[in-house]
Structures are given as structure tokens and as C-alpha cells.
Amino acid sequence: MQEKHNAKELLNKTFDALLPLLAVPLALIIGALLLLIFKVNPLTAYWSLLQGAFGSVSGLTQTIVKATPLLLVGLGVCIAFRGGIINIGGEGQLIVGALAATAIAVGFPNLPRIIILPLTFLGAILAGGVWGGIPGILKSRLGVNEILSTVMMNAIALQLSNYLLRGPLIDPAEIERGTQIAQSALLPKAVWLTKLVPQTLLHSGAIIALVMAILVYIFLWRTSIGYRIRAVGLNPDAAKYAGIPVQFYQALSLMLGGAFAGLAGAVEVTGVSHRMLEGLSAGYGFSGIVAALFGKLHPLGSIPASILFGGFLVGGRSMQRAVQVPSALIDTILGLTVLFVVSADIWSSYRARRRLSNG
């Protein structure tokens, strides 16, 4: 009898875990209906998406390259969310991280790799942490809603980047040539991340992100600070009663969230573009939220989720080339996925309640 009960519980748990997975096929079906309206064969379109993302070495490596910033931003979202804070500021935190990394790397072109590389990353992490910390402190000290302040911080970071890339940080070569493209100088080779597979874009940032995912898991579930962050997120009143300084941990979780997005910025400039560009963030701040959410806000769950959505981003572009469907379809599908995932929660909690009342 006991064994049968356990089996049933396992089945229930598996069902709950798999439920959000339905969100992607559902979103794809709605996307297919949209394609049909415009007389595009959805099967051809989705096949080119799949092929583009996972069908070749080049596609697969690009998918992992895209998944890297998604995972790092997503880890930040996980930490903040576990602390009961919704971090929508990933975009801005990533931008200031990338700016700091660029400024440091360009500023010290002759330092050896062993010194400059950690320094670059540290700068980005700090900058992202500050960018997340400001809304964190505003929340804990002055009660400012973090959703709104992080959105504002995104807009401010974007303008800061526009200013720096046209002014102090602009590539001197751009001024010489008179082209004035808003981008920084090429970073010194000493900070370029190592290529993992020759002839592809895949760089060691992917390993950094994977290691970070494991570290965040250990941090949240195996350390006392992580435990307190989760306690604050689960029930701030109970946490307060237990003597945990709730506001401190809320601010801390948002600051850590920012630090991870800042790290993502450093990985992008040192691993992919090798310079700071306009539009470097490319919406990772938002798609990172989708990835984290899809990974059930669990650091390890975010790994496959980031790869899936990285694949969407890469495949979306090959779909655009093959069947002339604008890659905006991918944003639409991402948006629908979020809506379905959050809507699916009710079924899990409904089933949980029914299980309880049935004994």
C-alpha cells in the first residue's frame, strides 16, 4: 500500500514538473496559426527553425553561445525571485556590466591576462551589482516598487551606454574614419575568452555559466545566506518573526541578481563581440526572465531552458532567411510561453490541494 502511494506521488510530481513543458508546444501551435494566416507553411518554417538551431555544428554552437547570457541573466532572476523580488532590470544590469568590462579592458591594454581578465569580470559584476543594488536599497529603505525602479534603471542604462559609446568610450578609429559608429575600440586580446571549438563562436563563457548555475544551486540550498533569502521570499512575515532582517535580504537578492546580469555583460563583450556595441543586450534581460521562469526558477532547471530559448533565437534567424518569416515571431512565441507557464501554476496548486484533501 505504501509503495503504491509513493508511486502515485512520484507520478503526480512528474506531472507537475512536466506541465510547464506543454507551454512551448501550445505557443508553437498559436504561432503556426499566425503563419497559416500569412500563407506560410508552419511545418517548413518550424523545420528551418529546428535545423537552424540544432541541425549543424555551427547552429548548435551558436545556440549555446546565445544560451550563455540567457542562463546568467536567468540565474540572477532566480536568486531575486527566490528572495521575493521580481527583477526586470536584467537589460540595464547587463549593459552596465558590459560597459564596465569594456572600460577596464580598454583602459589597461598592457596588463597580462591573469590580472586583467579577472579584473574585467570583477568590474562588470560590481557594476551590475550596483545597478541592481540601487533598486534594492530603494525597495528596502523607501519602499519603492522594484518592478518599476528596475524598468527605469533599464532606460537610464541604455542612455548611459549611448552617451559613453558616442563619447568617452568610442573607438578612436571611428572618429578618424569619420564613420562615427557608436561602438568601443576592440578589446585587447588578453581578455578574449578562449574558443572551445575552433572555427565556431563557442567560447569558454558557456563553462562559466554552467559552473555558476551549480554554484547558485549550492548557494541557495546549501548555505545559510541562501536559506535566509529563500525564507524571505517564501514568507516575509514568518522570516521577520524568525529574526531574519527581511529588507536586507531583499536588497541583497536584487543586488546579486544584478551582479549575474553584469557578469553576462562581461561574457558577451569578452566572448562574442570583443567590443561594446549598441544593442549588445539584444533583449537578453527579458528573454533571461523567460528562461528562468521556464526552468521553474531553479538554477539547474534554467540550464536546459536557456538552451531551448537560445535555440529559438538562433533558429528564428534561419527561419527568417529560409521562409522570410520575421524573427519577431520568436518574441511572440516567447511571450505566449510566459503567459502559458504562469497560467499553468494554478493546475499544479489545484492538484496539490486535491491531493491534500483526499489524504
Binding site: 518599476l148 532606460a155 542612455q159 558616442r166 519577431a328 518574441d331 511571450g335 497560467s343
Partner: protein
């Protein structure tokens, strides 16, 4: 800089400030109803984008701006209804579902724009209507009484919203749903119905807000035309303390700073334009941090209503 204090410049800034506040007014007043009833709809920006697209596309193809406006309102209503289903019936986390709605609106409006129009085209939007007599006063007439109809309607909404929210039974029910849904429920208020109503109406207004951009102010549609205005609109609701008059003050303040910032850019005054663009956002953060201390949010804002528990 001394040029600022001349009548043409001052009234020019007032004119564009009044104009720029229009989309914020529609979106924030709609959003203040949904927040007053306890639902945070963070997807306003996505709804605005879809409203801007449908308003423009229908207006352009049918040749009737009013038909475009109607299409935008219906699109907004449908998206509001979607948000209501997700956040009221399916009880989803409101901050996150709003982000989903925003991504969805951004993606879909861009997709439709690229498939149906290809590139940005401009049309002649709602023409300015000069109000008789008042419109002829020097400077003042130009700044206050020579706008298009959608601008006037936006300001007319403030007293209407104020009346509905504070002087009618419906308004009382809305506020009760946001302050203490359990108590209101026991008194026979249908919380679900009220929240459906406010969130869908909020959506409708956000749709009109989007259309006001594409067929009455900028008169074109382009990818991500709102560039985050919907998020500002949500912030303005907090700023305005969930009161239509407060929302009006917030929208005006934000838009005047913006108009001033645009003037600085046009004049080429020695402030990098990026910092000028930054000003309204910095101001909003400061306002949220220091100005909005006295009013507290609807107690049940973002809280899911579970009937018969507790």
C-alpha cells in the same frame, strides 16, 4: 539658455508637454482602474503596441481614422480580457504575466508590421481642432486650445474617471475589491466580475493610448514605437497615488520634463542629449522614492483573491 524665458519658447514647451501627456493619460487612467481593483497589469506596453499597430493599419487601409481608433480599442479590450483571464481566473503571478503580455505584444506587432507594411509609412493623423474664441488668444490659444480631438478627450477622461471611481457605487466596489476583497465578497460584491471589468477597460484604454501615438501624435507606426512608454504609464499610477488627478499631475510633470528635454536637444545646448533623455526616468525614480510617501497602495494589489479561504 536665456532664450528659454521668452513667450514663444515657454508656450511651445507647454504645447508639446500637453500633447506628449496624451498617451500616458489614456494608459495610466486605464491602469489606475485595474490597480484600484487589485490587479497590476504590467503588460500595458504590449497592449499599447498592438493598439498603435491596429489603429494605424486599419486607419490607413480603410481611410477612416475613427475606424482605426475603434479597432485599436477592440484590440486593447481583447488583450485586457486575456490579462484578466490569466491574472484573475488562472491566478497567475501578475508581474510575470505582464512581462509575458508585453513580449507578446511587442513580438506580434512587429511581426504584423513587417508582414503587412514592410517599412514605416506615415499618414495624416487627426487634425488639430481650434476651439472657437479661446483658440484665438495669443500664445495661450495655440498652447492649450489647438490640439487634436484625442488630446482633448484624454484630459476629459480625468474628471470622468474621478467621478466614476469616487462618486459611484461601481467605483466603491472597485476600490473595495482592491482594499479588502474578502470583506467585499461577503457583502455580495462579485470580485471576479469587477476585476474582469477594470482590467479589460484598462486594456481598452491602453489600446487607445497606442493609437493616439500612431494616428494622432507621431502619425506613423514603427517597430517598438512606444519604447517602454507603457512601463512609465504603470509607474505614473503609483506616482499619482491611484487617483486620476494624481495621475494627471504625474503625466504632465513627466511630459513637461520631456518637452523641455526635447527643446534642449533641438537647441543643441551643451548637455549631451543622452542625459537629457535620461532626465524623465531619473525624475520618476526620485518621485517614487521621495514624493509618494503619504499614499499607500490598494492593500490587495497583486494579491490573488481566493474565495472562501482564510
Amino acid at each position: 539658455m536665456a532664450e528659454l524665458f521668452t513667450l514663444p519658447v515657454l508656450f511651445g514647451i507647454i504645447y508639446s508637454g500637453i500633447r506628449l501627456a496624451t498617451p500616458y493619460l489614456y494608459a495610466s487612467i486605464g491602469e489606475s482602474f485595474s490597480q484600484a481593483s487589485g490587479v497590476l497589469n504590467l503588460g500595458v506596453d504590449g497592449i499599447m503596441l498592438m493598439g498603435a499597430y491596429t489603429g494605424f493599419y486599419v486607419g490607413m487601409t480603410s481611410g477612416s481614422l475613427w475606424l482605426g481608433l475603434l479597432a485599436a480599442a477592440i484590440t486593447g479590450l481583447l488583450m485586457g480580457l486575456l490579462m484578466a483571464v490569466i491574472s484573475v481566473t488562472l491566478k497567475a503571478e501578475q508581474g510575470i504575466s505582464g512581462i509575458g503580455l508585453q513580449l507578446f505584444g511587442l513580438g506580434l506587432s512587429t511581426l504584423l508590421f513587417k508582414l503587412t507594411m514592410g517599412g514605416a509609412i506615415s499618414i495624416s493623423g487627426f487634425p488639430p481642432v481650434r476651439i472657437p474664441l479661446l483658440g484665438n488668444i495669443p500664445y495661450i490659444g495655440e498652447a492649450f486650445f489647438n490640439h487634436n480631438l484625442l488630446v482633448y478627450f484624454a484630459y476629459l477622461l480625468v474628471p470622468i474617471a474621478n467621478f466614476v471611481l469616487n462618486k459611484t457605487t461601481l467605483g466603491l466596489k472597485i476600490r473595495a475589491a482592491g482594499q479588502n476583497p474578502q470583506a467585499a465578497d461577503t457583502l455580495g460584491v462579485n470580485i471576479t466580475l469587477i476585476r474582469y471589468l477594470t482590467v479589460s477597460m484598462g486594456g481598452l484604454m491602453a489600446g487607445i493610448a497606442g493609437a493616439s501615438l500612431s494616428i494622432a501624435l507621431i502619425n506613423l507606426f514603427q517597430e517598438n514605437i512606444t519604447s517602454g512608454m507603457g512601463f512609465i504609464a504603470v509607474a505614473l499610477v503609483y506616482f499619482g497615488g491611484w487617483k486620476p488627478t494624481g495621475v494627471l499631475l504625474g503625466s504632465l510633470l513627466f511630459s513637461f520634463v520631456n518637452a523641455f528635454q526635447l527643446w534642449i536637444q533641438v537647441k543643441g545646448i551643451n548637455i549631451p542629449s543622452d542625459f537629457a533623455v535620461m532626465m524623465p526616468y531619473v525624475l520618476t525614480i526620485f518621485a517614487l522614492a521621495f514624493a509618494v510617501k503619504r499614499v499607500s497602495a490598494p492593500a490587495a494589489l497583486t494579491k490573488i483573491f481566493e474565495r472562501g479561504e482564510n
